[in-house]
Subunit: 798 residues, 2 copies
Amino acid sequence: MITYPSFTVEPWCLRETALNLEVLAQSESVFALSNGHIGWRGNLDEGEPHGLPGSYLNGVYERRPLPYAEAGYGYPESGESVINVTDGKVIRLLVNDHPCDLRYGRVLAHERVLDFRSGVLSRTARWSTPGGRTVRITSRRLVSFTQRAVAAVVYEVEPVNGRARVAVQSELVANEQLPHTEGDPRVAAVTGAPLVGEEHFAQDTRLRLVHRTVRSGLRVGAAADHLIDGPEGTRWTAQSEPDVSRLTVTAELEPGQRLRLVKFVAYGWSGQRSLPAVHDQVDAAVAAAVSTGWEGLAHEQRTFLDRFWAGADVEVEGDAQIQQAVRFALFHVLQAAARGENQAIPAKGLTGTGYDGHSFWDIESYVLPVLTFTAPQAVASALRWRHRTLPAARQRAHQLGLAGATFPWRTISGAECSAYWPAGTAAFHVNADIAMAAVRYVLVSGDEEFERGVGLDLLVHTARLWRSLGHHDAEGVFHIDGVTGPDEYSAIARDNLYTNLMARQNLLVAADLAIRHPDRAEELGVDEEEAAAWRDAAARMAVPYNETLGVHEQSAGFTRFQHWDFDSTPPEHYPLLLHYPYFDLYRKQVVKQADLVLAMMESPNTFTDEEKARNFAYYDALTVRDSSLSACCQAVLAAETGHLRLAYAYLGEAALMDLDDLEHNTRDGLHIASLAGTWIALVVGFGGLRRHAGEDGRPDRLGFAPRLPEALSRVAFTVTVRGRRLKVDIGPASARYVLEEGEPLTVLHHGEPLTVTAGKPVDRAVSPLPARPEPQQPRHRRPAGLLSGDEAGEEPQE
Amino acid sequence: MITYPSFTVEPWCLRETALNLEVLAQSESVFALSNGHIGWRGNLDEGEPHGLPGSYLNGVYERRPLPYAEAGYGYPESGESVINVTDGKVIRLLVNDHPCDLRYGRVLAHERVLDFRSGVLSRTARWSTPGGRTVRITSRRLVSFTQRAVAAVVYEVEPVNGRARVAVQSELVANEQLPHTEGDPRVAAVTGAPLVGEEHFAQDTRLRLVHRTVRSGLRVGAAADHLIDGPEGTRWTAQSEPDVSRLTVTAELEPGQRLRLVKFVAYGWSGQRSLPAVHDQVDAAVAAAVSTGWEGLAHEQRTFLDRFWAGADVEVEGDAQIQQAVRFALFHVLQAAARGENQAIPAKGLTGTGYDGHSFWDIESYVLPVLTFTAPQAVASALRWRHRTLPAARQRAHQLGLAGATFPWRTISGAECSAYWPAGTAAFHVNADIAMAAVRYVLVSGDEEFERGVGLDLLVHTARLWRSLGHHDAEGVFHIDGVTGPDEYSAIARDNLYTNLMARQNLLVAADLAIRHPDRAEELGVDEEEAAAWRDAAARMAVPYNETLGVHEQSAGFTRFQHWDFDSTPPEHYPLLLHYPYFDLYRKQVVKQADLVLAMMESPNTFTDEEKARNFAYYDALTVRDSSLSACCQAVLAAETGHLRLAYAYLGEAALMDLDDLEHNTRDGLHIASLAGTWIALVVGFGGLRRHAGEDGRPDRLGFAPRLPEALSRVAFTVTVRGRRLKVDIGPASARYVLEEGEPLTVLHHGEPLTVTAGKPVDRAVSPLPARPEPQQPRHRRPAGLLSGDEAGEEPQE
């Protein structure tokens, strides 16, 4: 696998200076544009060559039957797959009879720039036809944050070395031919031609297609309008058929003359509304966009992003690559979530079809924490989506013989789509992850209406689930058996520590909220006895611990398992799940991804500093990080336990997951949670941001514990807390707290309370931690940042 | 579901006196004929009506892809399904233009008798055409134990109330239309038209069809010849096409005249041999059968069965139904195994397509124990089949990262066909079951050549598996983690007690045999160190025990699990697996089938009498017996722990599983292991037959501990041990040991050695056991024999 070498390191953009067809699909993912509603992969304007053509609408999927060679009660019967909807990006170019396809002729120059502040993807190219005529092509593309149904493209072509006859075809294309993929279960199940045409239209400069999915019954509309600017003699014509609607513009261009096309595209979809309604909706949206114009859209985009960066930016000094990576990450996290509006945030955002376009627990556990402090309205929206699916989750719980609600392991619509229950249905922790995401959002935003409504509903139904899923043993200890924690190399375990601690918080906060909102509690049928049962279960929750080793157990008995034989595991056998059977992974001490480490991050006050240090050393040596959800959590606990060099190496792994394609599947879409992990490693890791528990065990105090690795001279980040904007500016030996906006705010600095007022920055010293021996990672799995030159050469490059 | 009411209770046959079309499929299973090579379901001669037409050849299957919605490393890619081969049973009848189909016209009389001593299925019927012409039809059918490729039918028709024009069509039919089934995963995956014609032939009275399967590439030949006896004017003609070869005989019959057809059918199949070779093989077999003639075949059959019954019969006084059931059971067990000759014994024998025709561990653990004492050559044959698949099992072990061999959970050819690994691949106990079946066979038969060859190969490769599957903990205890024991309502458990104890025996005996056969051990590469490692692992094997409760644990931690809520489980929710998810079953104290109870039966000396009593009471209260493999084991331990009334009730459940269709799926074929369980309940249960361990822990002493329930006044059984025939004749207060043939033999009677010599019966008293409170079964799951009238009314009849 070739990784992408052609990105330059710049603070505010991602720039590609050469075109490498072999990694085209990866570049399409990193250059993808989205607003959380529409997603356009970074496909070349001409449509081909492509790695994977991709246009997505959040919530648009097709159903497919899930096959089982041996069926079982409660197995989901149908799955859901995101589909490639009508492609509005395509602008084909013909120069003197030669179709512009960069596989032919000669590419004299190529550059693409994704600007994180303007939110525009720009492209410039100089291309010679096989006949030798050279043209300069430029395009700019945006998916609007402010007009969520709208995307737009400016496309310009001009000849360089002589007169050229050009034809530009701007299209809406449905049911694009997709490359065939198979083998790796992480890749999407391919859905053939998912759309059935209902209407096609082309007139003057206007295009429209309306289609419908067959099984999921969703109607998808796309419309486009154009502004054309060319020399005298420029002509155009429009035509349509069921799967394509096309505007063709022709012109004869002398050097110095150019043809310019501005294309406005609007999308709409509905599972309910009629054909005329959807038709009108997209026509209206495109008309509004035309009225705003390209410059207007670009200006709105810039304003939207300026506001975002003011409250979200992370400045990094000492490592320009990390500086770029964290902004790249924040930009894509924002793109995935900004305008989702009561739809799920998929694991890959709207950048590819990986994981079938499903949303998983890592949205609540990795992505929402970042957005809670940087774009809280997106968090409320994502949680309102979960709330909207509560009826399905309650039905699923009932089917499984449980009380309350059981949210799906993977889904688009809210229906469980996981066909392998030991790593799906059994992973009940997703329910506490959702509940605690709501708690975190309320704590940080102060959104009381949300707390009373969506928050209480989610908390109560998940608390009921935990109470019915667990049970007391003869000694009165509360156990949760037969569940799967975050680590997917263990399954069907007893008392998974992460699950138990998350469930404990879930139960406690639910009981608290029920008391705080007695009227709503009564509506939900929560009485004193039920709340007491939640508190009792929480108080007696099992916390597995191995006294001999002095470490907590990932699940009861885990530390008694046989150790994985890392020394005999060759580097090319990673990820292990593709080379070893589940049965063997499950019964040995080998960890795919942060599990107990994540528990220490989410329940910081449950563990002493010494326990954290011993636990981290023990589990870091077992964690192979075959999941992109690992590195950032390892970074956080490495930083907390004083292993700053190691934390910095893990930060690098999290930050470069997609830019360096570390898991070799960025082609299928970006790892949104891992991107969020870049922020987590910096802010939660080196910033030490935590929700701390008070005396009563409720995690409602916000604290920082800043501490930088040697390589970084400064990390400064801004977070929004209850309407206040707080900047934490960390240097090698001290940290400055600046309240940029709002009422005074009290936080903890390394455990000590500190109140910061606008206009009065507060400085605090940072003392070094005691040195401890650095944890050892499994053989061949040291993070790249820690490798010496020799070792780096030995590591698998695949 | 209607169960079959029309069997009369007779000691040596099963007689049906009325035809009930709704349970036709069940009657086809119980009236199936087989010799272990050919299986013919008890379909009516005319072919229709039928429940499921079925003709099977042991080892003939088709492959089919196994679909996975989420694939994983090591998942089998293709499955195997038994197929309905060429049907040689069909003899259609036309009376005055009316096809004889018992759904039309009137059935004036109907009787079918399966005679356990003659091995012949007889039928008599009087049927009136819709036009009122009545004929008497008789047929007799056998599948020869002595000529394994041959089956034969005698078919006679005569008019009763006037002249009749009759046409009889005797056929070979391939690719019969099968009824469609779906839903219940226990039913076979339907394979459409599995056979491709290669040759068809019909001349004079001779018919032949040769076909080939598409994916598994097996060639199947069938030939028939006929003797025709009718009045003057009887004519016949033969014709064939690819899927049917047909002899049509016509005659005009006056009352008193009859048309008689004797049909000889021969089958052959091969994955290797050519079309002419298979063609010649079936022609030769049919010619030999013609030469023997019907009377000759019937005589051979009777002689074969006389010899079997002399060494295998079980006499029961006090319960005529049980007397019939145990002979029915032994007859079908013999049919399933007698002439398998290096093929598997399927779980349903050759009586139906249930479980896709696969063989499972219950053959080694339930069926072979019975055959070891009654038809030992069939045991050697079945184990030679396992030995033949050793290369595939070694390859599978290698794929799973293990040493030695891993035999498949379900298979026809030897390849793993289980698509659900938690209940397939993880059920490693099958390997010890196979090894210990070999050990049992050698002990009882004294077959030393087998021990040196097949036995040592099986023992060594399975011992290697166990040594690599388990590991020592820090205290030096040997654990086997992540495995599934016999109880399918638990999975992926630690230290399943049954598995650990079976593995312990496996390891010990393998080390012993390696010492006893040093030359062969050297061939297999077993040195002193390896044998020592086996002994060490056996010596330190974990045996989970709950000190507080004073009971052994089915697996480590099992007794800490939440108890299943039996009181809230309605009767119609059994079997539980169709109404509750696996995740819930796996994490609670609920037992599908004997697991720890089976361990106590197989390792009797590991437990004290008190432990057995406590364990049995504890687990009987958790065991719902959703598997037909339960009742007989519960009977054995109930008898051993003094609960004779309960043991008798369980005996009834085992004995009537198919005759009363207790699991409502006898239509798919008989439960061969449960049938074997009838013998186990009587001989191992009330006879107390066990292999006991000596001082050194090796289970090499044979003992009896006879004790009858009140309802039975006498149970007498004959077993063959190292060429001696021993009859144990048990009365209410004493037992008589009679050596019917062979050298003097020493056995244990209730733990006391006793030597018996031919011609000198030995009597021994039987003392009653101390009374203990009778164990309680889960609500709605008391065995039928224990229900009072009221309760019986409450129980689910479905």
